[in-house]
Symmetry: C2
């Protein structure tokens, strides 16, 4: 017999079907057993008589007849709530061990370290799964929005010969007889490819050897980047806002059930995302709160929330773009504003209180770029291939990036970015707690 | 004036337009200059009078009028061959330095090391670009085919606490106070997630510290993986063939011009890909060639070509699936064939003479898996999180993977996999030749 997907069972009333999935809950009532079975398409209640004991979360194969439930037993919360399966044959494909905690609750009430210690099991919980269904949609939304902007996908390396963005927080790799480094960003490679293919996007792992443990940082994350040649600053902001809002709108529209499960409203995407220079944003914050932040070099988290509150009130927008951050606070390749070089043609995109993207117009003049590298005490020799691109027709160009885990975390208002990573890496954990490895060594 | 894409210029005859792109060739005929300008949508011939000198490959912005060419000057080889642009204003956005070699030929006749030494420049050549346009389509074809098989995209880590597949060819990472390793495959993580999400796909970088330089190996490549729960072996082969043929068919259909440029025929995809056990394939090879390979543990490259020739002759197929390789020759997680455990429920998919995918049904019983790990002299303690998945309802499952660069190389019949990697890494090169870094150190 061919397998029927659980989502298709409501169309099979009166028919005998075969389903396969996991026994999510098993309730024994004497001779009668109720089993909620989950596959990748849904969940269904199954009823059996005189079944052999089935441990919770076992993989099962069930044959039986789909029957309509009596009106009073209809469960409106699930797609298959109007029907149930009367089990004729139950086969345990793989019996689960005893659960170390209750997997049957609507929410797993576990401390984060426990959730991660048991990751292979806790990923089976529907509320945890929902996070990664949304995440897949965010990535797809990014790709589709980038392709709408005529970007081509490129695959850039993650092992580089030198620490390419400055800073000490890089992981060293023993690369044959040499030292190499894990990239902090595909930045330099995407710029080179934008100089060839004009418009590119990259989804790449990036690595930060953050020496601290915070709720917002991971040592390895997925970064989604775009880079555009022949764009001037205002067009670049258009591209940023198209991809940023498009990606989140797509994810929300593809996964409405996930938003509902987490009690999240659909994002408010305005026709035109409001844009403010940093100094303008700071004036607004001062007016609204009385706090004088107008001399600060950046927005702090409180400022980000405040300016997002303003965007929502004044523009009915969950998004706001902030531009013109101080040049010295941004990466070396950021183009200073020709009209006021103390500030740069840089920007952040904020969504519901936090920054989800950064980017800039880049310096595309070779000499200017070498000066920028030198002035930050870096060595142009470490940028040989990158600088080569700026000798052979590099147009005005710019781009931006998003962190996949951070966007996922923010959409669902998760309290820790680790919850938005299938297998989070940080100072303390690589699958297992590193302290336990220390003990073993 | 808004920019017009070059592909749209044939619809703009008689109109004044603005185009932006690279001056691919510049031919001075006294007062008159012909410039072929390339953007990401196409190439157009532009004609100017008394222009200032424009260096080849400079980024330019041109305003002018689109005019029809006289019949006898029509170039049927390009989309814009019926028109040209009469330049009114030419602006050099970024002047290229002098070319180190002739970029104007249809083919770049460079040795591979030179091609890669000048990667930022050589990627601007249309024949090199074509490789990566096809590559983007291969990746997209993989994703679409995997989604047709109901797979969800997952993002798995590349830094792991132990060398997860055995073998010495791993890169070591200094991870805070610990040692970690770059993954050789997302294998263990995709199996864990298949135990939760049922059907998954992953596009991940993988790393092999190959101590030799060959035309077929790179130190960092992009691997495309699928993994399916609740599938038995024949269904798994269906999935393999669906994704493998679907991906290549998609790429060929999306990029017919690239195939044409490289003189490649469209792939022959049969309704049913022929399937042979290794021993059956070897018998066929023996019959066809007289070479007795029937005791060998694997197909060598000559055998792969021969069995593909058979598939083409007998089944009009560019694909053939070979199954049941010797158990001891495959990875520890491979399920032995219950009917003949010396051979395994493993497979390779061959395309036009080479293997492009490997995979297998996996061992899903916990004790059996621990025994398999131990019998290969590995330590189950290094597989803690992986083994956890096999305690809590792991269904029969299996999967397969493709190498993006290898598939790209094979479709276009490139002579070296480095040509199918934007920035290839090997023993001798990370962007620049490592020997030069040695000198600097």
């Amino acid at each position: 017999m061919n397998r029927t997907r659980i989502s298709e069972t409501p169309q099979a009333v009166g028919q005998k079907v075969l389903i396969k999935g996991w026994a999510q809950t098993v309730r024994d009532h004497g001779k009668i057993t109720f089993i909620d079975v989950r596959d990748h398409t849904g969940i269904i209640q199954c009823v059996g008589v005189n079944l052999t004991k089935i441990p919770v979360e076992s993989a099962v194969s069930l044959e039986g007849t789909i029957v309509a439930r009596p009106e009073k037993l209809v469960n409106k919360e699930i797609v298959t709530g109007t029907i149930e399966m009367q089990i004729e044959t139950a086969t345990v494909l793989h019996a689960a061990h005893e659960m170390p905690f209750d997997m049957g609750q609507k929410e797993l009430n576990l401390e984060l370290p426990t959730l991660l210690d048991w990751r292979a099991l806790t990923l089976k919980h529907s509320r945890e799964q929902a996070i990664f269904r949304l995440q897949a949609a965010v990535a797809q939304g990014f790709r589709e929005s980038a392709e709408e902007m005529e970007c081509m996908e490129v695959f850039t390396p993650t092992v580089a010969a030198s620490s390419t963005e400055g800073g000490a927080e890089v992981f060293k790799v023993q690369y044959y007889e040499h030292s190499a480094f894990l990239i902090q960003s595909p930045q330099l490679y995407k710029q080179i490819t934008a100089g060839a293919f004009e418009r590119v996007y990259v989804i790449s792992h990036v690595y930060r050897a953050e020496p601290s443990v915070t709720t917002r940082h991971l040592s390895e994350v997925v970064q989604m980047d775009c880079e555009f040649s022949f764009l001037e600053f205002p067009e670049l902001l258009d591209a940023l806002e198209h991809v940023g809002t498009g990606m989140i709108k797509y994810a929300a529209e593809m996964q409405p059930d996930v938003l509902k499960l987490y009690g999240i409203d659909h994002p408010k995407v305005p026709t035109k995302v409001p844009r403010l220079k940093l100094r303008e944003a700071q004036e607004i914050i001062k007016e609204r709160t009385g706090r004088d932040v107008t001399k600060e070099q950046d927005l702090n988290p409180e400022d980000e929330r405040e300016i997002c509150a303003w965007a929502l009130e004044m523009h009915d927008s969950d998004f706001v773009t902030i531009t013109h951050f101080p040049t010295k606070k941004r990466a070396f390749y950021t183009m200073p504003d020709p009209e006021d070089p103390e500030f740069s043609l840089s920007f952040d995109l904020l969504f519901r209180g936090i920054e989800i993207s950064s980017g800039s117009q880049r310096i595309h003049d070779y000499d200017e770029l070498v000066t920028a590298i030198t002035s930050r005490n870096m060595n142009p020799k470490d940028f040989e291939l990158y600088l080569q691109a700026f000798k052979f027709g590099m147009p005005p160009e710019g781009g931006f990036s998003f962190g996949l885990e951070r966007v996922t975390m923010k959409i669902l208002e998760l309290d820790n970015v680790r919850r938005a990573s299938l297998f989070p890496r940080d100072m303390e954990r690589v699958d297992v707690r590193l302290a336990t490895l220390q003990d073993k060594a």
